[in-house]
Amino acid sequence: MTKPNHAKLQKVKELAKAFKVRYNRNVEVFRALTFNQDNELKEASIHIMSKKGTRFILNEFLSDGLTDYVTITYKVDDTAKTSKYKRYIDAEISVADLIGQEEI
């Protein structure tokens, strides 16, 4: 499996704006896409940076163009935590909740 290359991360303002619209959270969003040999999308890696500086990494693994599963990885007290979801929307809402807890 090809690992996402963080060097290829690109800041996507439109995604940050969409996240703000939907969850009312001010974040920065970076994205890296990985394709297989048939030029099919295999993995989408979305990095969401909260205002507190926490990085939430959503790795979406795809199969035949559909979400296979999604993981969230982030650090808490220098310890990496990873959660797995069936749907992207569920993972994203969890990230929004985690950012909200930071801001309390």
């Binding site: 795809l62 559909l66 929307i89 994203e92």
Partner: protein, 366 residues
């Protein structure tokens, strides 16, 4: 407006693929479709419409239903317009076609004059399976003739609903004036004596006092001077109107304990004699307009006892004979206004009151 439900929910930062977009549409759902969501020319096929349950399908003014359809249950409400279609079964009732002319196995329509067609033959002249006939014939319905009356020589004496009433006099050598049962509806009265070979006199009226209405009266007298007391009878057969109750009036001498006169018939004496029970309260015309002597009593026999006596009467033995042989005068009983009297049109009514001289009595067996 119908409800559209997406088939795929994207996250705000989710990567879009063509497959996800396809699912957004393909897995979507449309519900709560209302009339305004459907185009006027939508031409929704019949198979998409539920005809069962409480669904009501309104058919357009020019709607044509094609193909073989099965409608079960009942058509209710009213049909506006008409059922048409020459090649259909729209004109059938229980699968029988309608027809404007008499035809085998067809329902015949009335003609433009709202009458049956003139050429109906066969069994069309039957009522409850009995044929009509212009002449008197066995098991036929008799038609009136061209003058709207019964044809001649049809009604025989046996056909008439007749009854017989009897009046009697037991007063020796003195006329008793009596009202004949049936009055105007009676035939000529017949007379007899209690015993053979006795002389009696019978006249229409013998010095009798009558009212202003016509009555059929007879004055009877057992005249034979050589014999002991006996009874003279006059019987009148008449066309009856009632027949429900049997009337027995007795002119009773409470001193001699003799019955001086009697009337027995299945109709009240006013029937055929003016039909007014107040004018003809009893059959003894001598006492309509003058007081009853103290020794005489007019008795109307209680209805149940009268019926028992009626059953015992024969052509030879009248009610007064049975009373003389088997009964004696009993107690006065309550008059319950339940005696049926009828007029010439067979209108039934109950006798409401008795004349002051009449005593409603039971008879008791000797």
């Amino acid at each position: 407006m119908a409800d559209l439900t997406r088939g795929y929910t994207f996250g705000a930062t989710e990567t879009v693929t063509n497959t996800k977009l396809h699912n957004l549409v393909d897995l979507g759902d449309v519900s709560a479709i209302v009339n305004t969501d459907i185009a006027s020319g939508a031409a929704i096929e019949e198979s998409k419409i539920a005809f069962d349950g409480s669904t009501v399908v309104l058919v357009g003014n020019t709607q044509t239903i094609t193909g073989n359809k099965t409608f079960t249950g009942s058509l209710t409400g009213s049909l506006t317009g008409s059922l048409t279609g020459t090649a259909s079964n729209a004109d059938t009732v229980d699968s029988i076609h309608a027809s404007t002319a008499a035809e085998a196995n067809k329902l015949l329509a009335l003609n433009a004059s709202a009458k049956f067609a003139a050429d109906i033959t066969g069994d069309a002249d039957t009522v409850d399976g009995i044929h009509a006939s212009s002449g008197a014939a066995a098991n036929k319905l008799l038609a009136l003739n061209a003058s709207g009356i019964f044809p001649s020589n049809v009604v025989s004496s046996a056909t008439l609903r007749t009854a017989s009433g009897v009046v009697t006099s037991g007063t020796a050598k003195s006329f008793t004036q009596l009202t004949l049962p049936g009055g105007a509806y009676g035939f000529y009265p017949q007379v007899r004596s209690q015993f053979a070979g006795r002389k009696i006199s019978a006249r229409i009226s013998e010095d009798g006092m009558v009212g202003s209405s016509y009555i059929a009266s007879i004055a009877l007298e057992p005249t034979d001077p050589q014999t002991a007391l006996f009874v003279a009878y006059a019987q009148q057969t008449y066309v009856t109107a009632s027949g429900e109750d049997y009337f027995i009036f007795l002119l009773y001498d409470n001193v001699t304990k003799q019955i001086n006169g009697s009337y027995s018939a299945p109709d009240h004496p006013c029937y055929g004699n003016g039909d007014d029970e107040n004018e003809v309260p009893h059959p003894f015309t001598d006492y309509w307009y003058k007081p009853l002597p103290n020794n005489l009593e007019i008795i109307l026999v209680e209805k149940n006892i009268a019926k028992k006596i009626q059953k015992k009467t024969t052509r030879k033995k009248g009610a007064v004979d049975i009373i003389n042989e088997e009964y004696e005068v009993g107690a006065i009983t309550e008059f319950k206004k339940d005696l049926d009297i009828s007029d010439y049109e067979s209108n039934h009514r109950k006798l409401q009151k008795l004349h002051k001289d009449i005593k409603y009595r039971k008879l008791k067996l000797k």
